[in-house]
């Protein structure tokens, strides 16, 4: 490791990359101005591995994808072009799908002429009525509150950036986001819903509801965001935005 001082300073004064101007009449050229950040992903030049604390320089010209620690293999950061723009798009979709998932039933059951359906909230309410309030809270937190907060925090951060301003309460929202993400368990719930089909299918007539499919879709949206969103890139962009404005 050949490390020579000034780590924090040498990455903070990267000049903005020149915008590409093809030789066409201006009116016919689509503008890049509305992208969040430059289309080239910016990542810090020097990083310490979050899992083994090894200091390492991050090469600027390797391809796309996750950059792994050279000693322990942990993900240091992700270099994906337009990651923030794509994350914003996915999260807008997630907001719609999440709303649908909360309104419609996950499944319904018919037994001897009687009909019963369970929504996400109804599921938690049934646990509460059965005297298991703590378990009901755990279910409601991990399936409704935490995914909802994740979507909200992402939109809170990314919508202002899309409009070219630094978000309000950036630090607190960003920390909340990091704290919330491990507790959003949409994918686990989707697996559980599949297991429930097996357990209930022979007991009575089972119908899958809209929320079942919505949760499945939400699982894919969250998984996609997990492969590209990176707080480092977000902060790097905010730092550039502030530097561009303030001096």
């Amino acid at each position: 490791m050949n490390f020579t001082g000034g780590p924090a300073s040498n990455q903070r004064h990267i000049p903005p990359s020149p915008r590409i101007r093809p030789a066409l009449p201006r009116r016919t050229v689509a503008t890049l101005a509305s992208d969040i950040g430059s289309s080239e992903p910016r990542i810090p030049a020097l990083l310490a591995c979050p899992e083994c604390d090894l200091l390492q320089r991050v090469p600027a010209d390797r391809g796309w994808g996750a950059i792994a620690c050279c000693r322990c293999g942990a993900t240091l950061c992700r270099r994906i072009p337009r990651a923030l723009d794509t994350t914003l798009a996915l999260m807008i979709a997630a907001a719609v799908v999440f709303a649908v998932a909360n309104v419609f039933p996950v499944m319904s059951l018919d037994m001897q002429g009687r009909h019963n359906e369970a929504t996400l909230l109804g599921m938690a309410r049934a646990l509460h009525q059965a005297g298991m309030t703590i378990v009901a809270m755990l279910v409601a937190l991990t399936v409704i509150v935490m995914p909802g907060l994740e979507i909200l925090a992402m939109l809170w951060l990314l919508v202002p950036l899309k409009l070219g301003v630094a978000p309000e309460g950036l630090q607190i929202v960003s920390r909340t986001l990091a704290a919330v993400r491990p507790w959003a368990m949409v994918e686990v719930f989707t697996l559980a819903a599949l297991v429930s089909i097996g357990r209930l299918g022979n007991l009575a007539e089972l119908h899958l509801g809209v929320a079942f499919w919505a949760m499945g879709a939400l699982m894919f949206l969250f998984a996609l965001v997990d492969t590209m969103f990176d707080e480092h890139v977000l902060w790097q962009h905010v730092a550039e935005l502030r530097e561009g404005r303030e001096p």
């Binding site: 780590p7 924090a8 090894l54 200091l55 950061c77 646990l127 630090q171 686990v188 429930s196 009575a204």
Partner: protein, 217 residues
């Protein structure tokens, strides 16, 4: 020869990833109790060389999880009532056996892995990691770091059984024909999942590397 950030007086921010110099940023330090807390120059989050009180917190969460592990597995997690039949109660394991004998063996395997294997593996692996830090082990550092990462990722999948229970309780409400209610193990099992997740979140894998570094001298 070390290239670890902390050994060079550098602190990386857990929120934004910025590498800060611990000494130079002293000007923006606030005082919390006896020790000065340094804040990240870019995002303002408090900086720590290692997660604060990592070992003590991990051990405390693990101990609590061990205590609840027994009731979680021995008490009934679901109680089913059917018209004409005696009410039956299932523990996690008997639920798996019922699924298996009922011909739903793929589901039995899912629940077996998620509810029995994963919590057990998490407790075992985290305990081993804590002991290996205490003993200053320098062997298989990469392997142990990867194992930690695996445990951290798979932890949430144990919630499957809780959600299946919640769906059954929410759906099967045909009294007196058929009904399902949660058993006391649901609380204990949910607590085990949450506690082991907190334990793995508070464990700092960098301590594994520190311990090895200290041994090498």
């Amino acid at each position: 020869m070390t290239a670890m950030a902390a050994a060079r007086g550098l602190l990386s921010c857990r929120v934004c990833g910025e590498v800060n110099r611990a000494a130079v940023r002293g000007a923006s330090a606030g005082v919390h109790g006896a020790s000065a807390v340094v804040h990240c120059a870019r995002c303002g989050s408090p900086l720590h060389a290692r997660k604060p009180d990592s070992m003590r917190r991990t051990v405390a969460f693990l101990a609590a999880a061990y205590v609840l592990y027994l009731p979680a597995n021995l008490l009934p997690i679901l109680e089913t009532g059917e018209l004409g039949g005696p009410p039956r109660s299932d523990t996690i394991m008997s639920g798996v056996v019922t699924l298996w004998t009922g011909g739903w063996w793929p589901l039995a395997v899912v629940i077996l892995i998620a509810s029995i294997f994963i919590p057990f593996a998490k407790l075992g692996v985290l305990t081993w990691l804590v002991i290996s830090v205490r003993r200053g082990s320098a062997a298989r550092l990469r392997g142990r770091t990867r194992l930690y990462r695996l445990v951290d990722v798979i932890g949430k999948w144990s919630m499957v059984d809780i959600y299946v229970g919640a769906l059954l309780v929410g759906l099967v409400r045909f009294e007196p024909l058929a009904s399902v209610s949660p058993g006391p193990a649901a609380i204990a099992f949910g607590a085990v999942v949450v506690l082991t997740m907190l334990a793995s979140q508070s464990f700092d894998p960098r301590l594994l590397w520190d311990a090895a570094e200290a041994r090498r001298g």
